[in-house]
């Protein structure tokens, strides 16, 4: 396959960036999207040009490090996958592919396609944990009965890898789906209920402080989420937040 790539190049956080065009030839349809970028970078290095900076780590869809807005969609046109799981067979010979960083005030660009997602870490730190004494005499979690459907919903919420596709897809750059998944995974379990009130208030406050937009229920986040996190989590967080605010 021969493709034309339009890639966002930006020196650092303070300079202005722009799309730059790179032709790439002999791309195998079996390559992953990141492998295709690796090939491009090797070519750039051979020519003495600066390679394109992009985030990646596990390359098997579980770490949440890779990002990229590909042809206007986070993680590209396929569903329930991360960019590292996107294959070039999703594109046609001769296609032009636009590659941009995830865009949000709360995700400032570090360089090229790499953005700083520390705002997610700070939301998590605000309350995304349970305070359990780990001195050695902690009760076995399996000895606490949990309703099967709650356990399943908590597990589904906990599959969020915090990649930020929800923010990138949302026309409002809202982080509601991420925050809701993190709130839900604890709120549904007995261990998490102890700190539920404080947790939801603190995490939502941090989310607002980071400058994410407001959710308008477009549902784009749910569609683009590589882990299929459901909008029901947002409804749950709204309920949790409202009842916590009244306490």
């Amino acid at each position: 396959m021969n493709l034309t790539l339009k890639i966002w190049r930006q020196k650092n956080a303070t300079t202005k960036g722009k799309l730059q065009t790179y032709p790439i030839s002999d791309v195998s349809p079996d390559m992953s999207f990141l492998e295709m970028l690796d090939v491009l970078n090797e070519e750039l290095i051979e020519k003495g040009e600066e390679p394109v900076v992009f985030d990646h780590d596990c390359r098997e869809g579980i770490c949440g490090t890779c990002s990229l807005q590909i042809n206007g969609e986070p993680h590209g046109p396929d569903r329930a996958i991360t960019t590292c799981q996107l294959h070039m067979r999703m594109f046609k010979d001769g296609d032009t592919i636009t590659i941009e960083p995830f865009r949000a005030a709360a995700f400032p660009v570090i360089k090229d396609l790499m953005v700083n997602r520390d705002s997610f870490e700070r939301i998590q730190q605000a309350g995304g944990y349970v305070s359990v004494n780990t001195s050695g005499n902690t009760q076995d979690a399996n000895s606490i009965p949990v309703q099967k459907n709650n356990a399943d919903d908590a597990f589904d919420a906990a599959t969020c890898i915090g990649c930020g596709a929800c923010v990138a897809a949302c026309k409002n750059a809202s982080a509601m789906l991420f925050t809701a998944a993190k709130v839900s995974q604890f709120a549904l379990l007995p261990q998490g209920k102890v700190e539920a009130t404080r947790r939801v208030l603190a995490m939502v406050e941090q989310m607002d402080k980071e400058g994410f937009g407001n959710c308008t229920n477009t549902g784009a986040c749910e569609i683009e989420c590589p882990k299929g996190i459901s909008l029901d989590n947002i409804a749950r967080m709204n309920r949790e937040y409202l009842s916590a605010s009244m306490k």
Binding site: R103, N214, T218, A235
Partner: protein, 220 residues
């Protein structure tokens, strides 16, 4: 202000509650308007009651106006905040791949409805207030029907009404069910509720369009 008054979720809920309030008002407005299709007398009777009842005029009407103002002011605040949350836009953004046109353009359908409200106030509310409270005409319980019908002689006005109701339908298509999501409604009835809200969003504006066209063609 801090706490709940400054939180994004509280703003969502305020948006949802004011929207639901307006949805209920719309149904009432539709029912009264619809009587004009089959009986001038019934329409006059209802209109006279709504226009002269002290509770409606001086309690419910101000609440309604405040509800409308709250809804669109919050809408502008939301839009402003959401635009600032992404200061540099995507060169390519494929919104239609993952969300409906209605959900992405609430501000535009809302602005058309707001402009329509301006026309609607100019057509009915302002003349009504002038008639009753400024010029202090004596009560005439039979004037409402022909005053209303006369407005639909103009094809331009009738067209503007029809267009506004189409936009209202698109606004409701997303907004009505979205308000339940904002308030945390996600249970086994959510799907049925979504069906109901979609039916409402189509049928009520369609009913208003029918009434406008009915009077227009009756006038011709």
């Amino acid at each position: 202000m801090g706490g709940i008054f400054n939180s994004s979720i509280a703003r969502k809920v305020a948006m949802a509650l004011s929207g639901l309030f307006l949805v209920i008002f719309l149904l009432l407005h539709f029912i009264i308007n619809f009587t004009s299709v089959f009986s001038a007398d019934v329409f006059n009777e209802y209109s006279h009651f709504m226009g002269t009842n002290v509770l409606i005029q001086f309690l419910l009407q101000p609440i309604l106006i405040l509800g409308v103002i709250l809804h669109f002011v919050l809408g502008f605040v939301l839009e402003y905040r959401n635009r600032s949350a992404r200061p540099i836009n995507y060169v390519r953004f494929n919104g239609s791949a993952n969300s409906s046109w209605m959900s992405r353009n609430m501000i535009y359908s809302g602005l058309v409805i707001l402009a329509f409200l301006g026309l609607h106030f100019y057509d009915f509310w302002i003349p009504e207030v002038v008639h009753k409270y400024i010029e202090s005409h004596p009560d005439d319980p039979f004037r409402y029907y022909h005053e209303t019908v006369a407005k639909f002689e103009s094809p331009v006005r009738t067209g503007l009404y029809v267009l506004s109701f189409v936009l209202l339908s698109l606004h409701l298509y997303h907004g009505f069910s979205s308000s339940f999501q904002s308030m945390g409604w996600a249970n086994k009835y959510a799907k049925g509720l979504r069906g109901f809200t979609v039916a409402y969003a189509i049928l009520i504006p369609l009913g208003f369009i029918f009434i406008a066209l009915y009077h227009y063609f009756n006038n011709v």
